[in-house]
Amino acid sequence: MTDITDFDCDYENKWCPGCGNFNILAAMKEALAGMKLSPENVLIVSGIGQAGKTPHFLKCNFFHGLHGRALPVATGAKLANHKLTVLVSSGDGDCYGEGGNHFLAAVRRNIDITLLTHDNKVYGLTKGQSSPTSDMGFVTKMQRSGVISEPFNPLSVALSLGAGFVARGFSGEKAHLAGLIRAAVSHKGFSLVNILQPCVSFNHLNTNGWYKKRVVKVAETGHDPADWNTAMHLSREWGDRIPIGIFFQKQGPSFTDRIAHLNEGPLVERTYDSAAVQAMLNGI
């Protein structure tokens, strides 16, 4: 185990005091250190939002890109170098709003990256508009009569897309969350950890206390993560009981496993071969 503090970084943290993100950050460090990874071996790609700032607060290699577009950047990086350990830090708006289409595609590719969605059910950084996961009726300065769309259910959708690792964490259960992140990073293929995260500034509905009363660990209920049907049912539970844990896991060949050229090593390690290229050119 590398030391958790190896991942500490002296860049000033910019989240609000009390934000659920702090625990997510701590859980990430714990998971990475627990896996004996060190900052040099980790690439975190993020989008824009409070969640997207995460890699600035954790020592690592990072690419902090556009709102909604972390997944394709991560996919490109993984294609270029499939030896990389790639995590994506995304928000509920970033990932299921602006970036919804990439979420669908990333799951379908089964690209071996770990997606951590900091799901505070609100647009934090832009000051509190509703997000795709906001509950119906959630009132904001912008949604003045409350949200009138069905909330996006990331777990159900991931399951219906054939995802191989589908989990839900809660920032208030840090150790449990660290375990989920560790399992997700260890999983070969696409892994989703949707993390319930209170936003103390803009979400006064889904607060820490609200969640504390509701979360139930599926592992403790004897759920078998190989059971897709139950996973789907669990994913649809929301209200007095909110299941957290690994809903579903199934190993299968990942995207880069399926590309023959990559069996011989990462593209980034291939050096230019003038003779081979000339042979191709001559063959035209």
Binding site: Y11, K14, P39, E40, N41, V42, L43, V45, I48, K53, P55, H56, K59, C60, N61, F62, F63, H64, G65, L66, R69, L71, P72, V73, A74, T75, G76, A77, K78, L79, A80, N81, K83, L84, T85, N101, H102, L104, A105, I259, H261, L262, E264, L267, V268, R270, Y272, S274, A275, A276, V277, Q278, M280, L281, N282, I284
Partner: protein
């Protein structure tokens, strides 16, 4: 006098017009002739009308001509649409099965001969045979080409096609076609190439290892060629879920250290503009091909245009250096791709290559074989190059704006990149000093970038008082138009621009200095190059020869418009 004739083979989509055109072009190439061909088709899969217009000569040709000497009408529509382009003495062959036979067209039982040879589907091969018969080509050579072309298919198919070709060849034995090129027993020097392939080969030779794209005419061909190369060469072509993903994947791949590209057309390029800015502020080298077609919006998906110049130069919010190139021919396209990848990495900026449907889908001979570069500078650093890798800063100030570029997870040096304005270490900063320094760092690259720009290629410029100025794919047509104008006693030369941005203003002024009339030649309606020249040099542009109907300039289009100006 040398032969210089054009053959137009037209028919419905799905009738194999392009296949037969390519076979003929290959035949000419292998018999020592120069060819140039345009591919004209509708945005549909079956039916409608499409054509392949093949120009053949013993001397080097690089553009289409308007005048047709041989019209091969696989459908009645071809005859109706194109017969007015036939020169005096030209011949129109029409399938006897089609309407319009008779009205000045020579009926050949194309479909019937094909059926006899084994199936209607080979009507195109019959037509090819007939063309070659009229042109007096040696059949054996064509036989070899057909055999080669169908080498993958079963023997029956091959034989049937040979029969079909032969039948076509014979069917026209009695018809006298007055322009017969000199068929030789040796290949022309160059390779038969279309623009899409030249671009893909350039990418290959540039060591591009990842192509991410979303299908869009007329860019798809480039990616399809790259995909074919990936059959045997270790590179990966990935079809993204949309263009936004394509550019972001390209950025991710480049960030991780491989050379990567994407290709699209206008609407797709629109969707990539935010990513273009991301590449710029993160200083990630990427190459983007924008294969232009007429717009706005969906416009004419399978037609040509040069309507995106000012958009591409100014695309994405705020300001940043970028390279913009517009290849002027097959060899140039190959070379430009290699330069685009190199310069993009050298300066850590995005490079955009502007082509168009005309260029991507046209066939021409290259000047010679394509040479693979011996090696590539990759302009990266690793721990070994650093005194203290743990102190590595991705955006370190260096004076020339170019920071040493390390790759992520490649040592102790942490690589931190952000699309927010940032400090030297890649962390977000909102300080005005950091902001100013970073804007200035990025734009500090501009003067060196500008010095990489080749001046416009000049033809008959010395002493010419009138200069035509073109950019990109129309080069061949403009040069030939100038030759023709000069032959007709006009005092005209031309400048052909391939390196567009950063605009080589000084070089342009230097070379254009002697002229008193500049006329841009462009496939758009608002003379974008003309406006750019005025913006960047202050030189007035007197006129513009414009065409925006989605069809490529023929040499005569330029000559005619020139005469109308005066």
């Amino acid at each position: 006098m040398q032969t210089d004739i054009s053959i137009l083979i037209g028919g419905q989509a799905g009738q194999g017009i392009q296949t037969v055109g390519e076979l003929l072009a290959r035949m000419c190439q292998q018999a020592g002739l120069s060819v140039f061909a345009v591919n004209d088709f509708e945005s549909r899969i079956r039916g409608g009308h499409s054509f392949f217009q093949l120009r053949i000569s013993e001397r080097r040709i690089q553009a289409p001509s308007r005048h047709i000497h041989l019209l091969v009408a696989m459908s009645g529509e071809t005859h109706a649409l194109h017969r007015q382009k036939l020169v005096e003495g030209g011949i129109c062959l029409i399938d006897s099965a089609e309407d319009g036979a008779g009205e000045g067209a020579v009926a050949v039982p194309v479909t019937q001969l094909a059926t006899e040879a084994g199936g209607k589907i080979m009507a195109n091969t019959v037509a090819a045979g007939a063309c070659l018969g009229l042109l007096g080509a040696p059949f054996e050579q064509f036989q070899a080409i057909i055999t080669d072309r169908f080498s993958g298919a079963d023997a029956n198919v091959r034989e049937n096609n040979l029969d079909a070709a032969r039948a076509g060849y014979r069917a026209v034995a009695s018809i006298n076609f007055q322009w017969k090129p000199v068929w030789r027993d040796m290949s022309s020097e160059g390779m038969l190439m279309n623009g899409a392939r030249a671009l893909a080969l350039g990418a290959l030779a540039a060591d591009c290892r990842i192509g991410a794209f979303y299908p869009m005419s007329p860019a798809t061909g480039i990616m399809q060629q790259l995909s074919e190369l990936s059959d045997t060469y270790p590179l990966v072509v990935e079809q993204a879920e949309d263009e936004i993903a394509a550019i972001n994947m390209t950025i991710g791949a480049a960030f991780a250290g491989v050379r990567a590209m994407t290709a699209t057309s206008g609407g797709g390029f629109c969707l990539m503009t935010e990513g273009l800015g991301l590449a710029a502020i993160t200083e990630t080298p990427v190459v983007i091909v924008n294969a232009q077609r007429p717009g706005p919006a969906t416009g004419l998906p399978t037609r040509t245009a040069q309507g995106d110049l000012l958009f591409v130069i100014n695309a994405a919010q705020d300001e940043f250096p970028r390279f913009v190139f517009a290849p002027t021919g097959m060899d140039d396209a190959y070379a430009v791709m290699i330069r685009a990848f190199d310069l993009s990495e050298k300066y850590q900026v995005p490079a955009i290559v502007m082509t168009d449907q005309y260029f991507n889908d046209s066939f021409a001979l290259t000047d010679g074989p394509f040479d693979a570069p011996h090696g590539h500078d990759r302009y990266t650093v690793s721990d070994a190059d650093m005194a203290d890798p743990s102190a590595y800063k991705r955006y370190a100030f260096t004076g020339n704006g170019i920071s040493p570029r390390a790759l992520p997870c490649n040592g102790q040096a942490l690589v931190c990149a952000a699309g927010n304005e940032h400090r030297q270490d890649g962390h977000i900063s909102e300080d005005r000093e950091d902001r100013n320094a970073m804007v200035e760092k990025r734009s500090a690259k501009l003067s060196a970038m500008q010095s990489e720009m080749r001046p416009p290629a000049a033809y008959h410029v010395d002493g010419s008082r009138t200069l035509l100025v073109s950019w990109g794919s129309t080069a061949g047509a403009v040069q030939e138009a100038v030759s023709r104008l000069r032959d007709a006693g006009e005092d005209a030369g031309c400048l052909v621009m391939a390196d567009i941005w950063p605009f080589p203003a000084a070089a342009f002024q230097e070379v254009a200095r002697g002229a008193d009339t500049l006329i841009t030649v462009e496939q758009n309606a608002t003379a974008q190059l003309g406006r750019l020249i005025r913006q960047e040099t202050g030189m007035p542009v007197a006129h513009s020869i414009l065409q925006y109907d989605g069809r490529a300039f023929c040499v005569e289009d330029i000559v005619d418009q020139y005469h109308q100006l005066n």
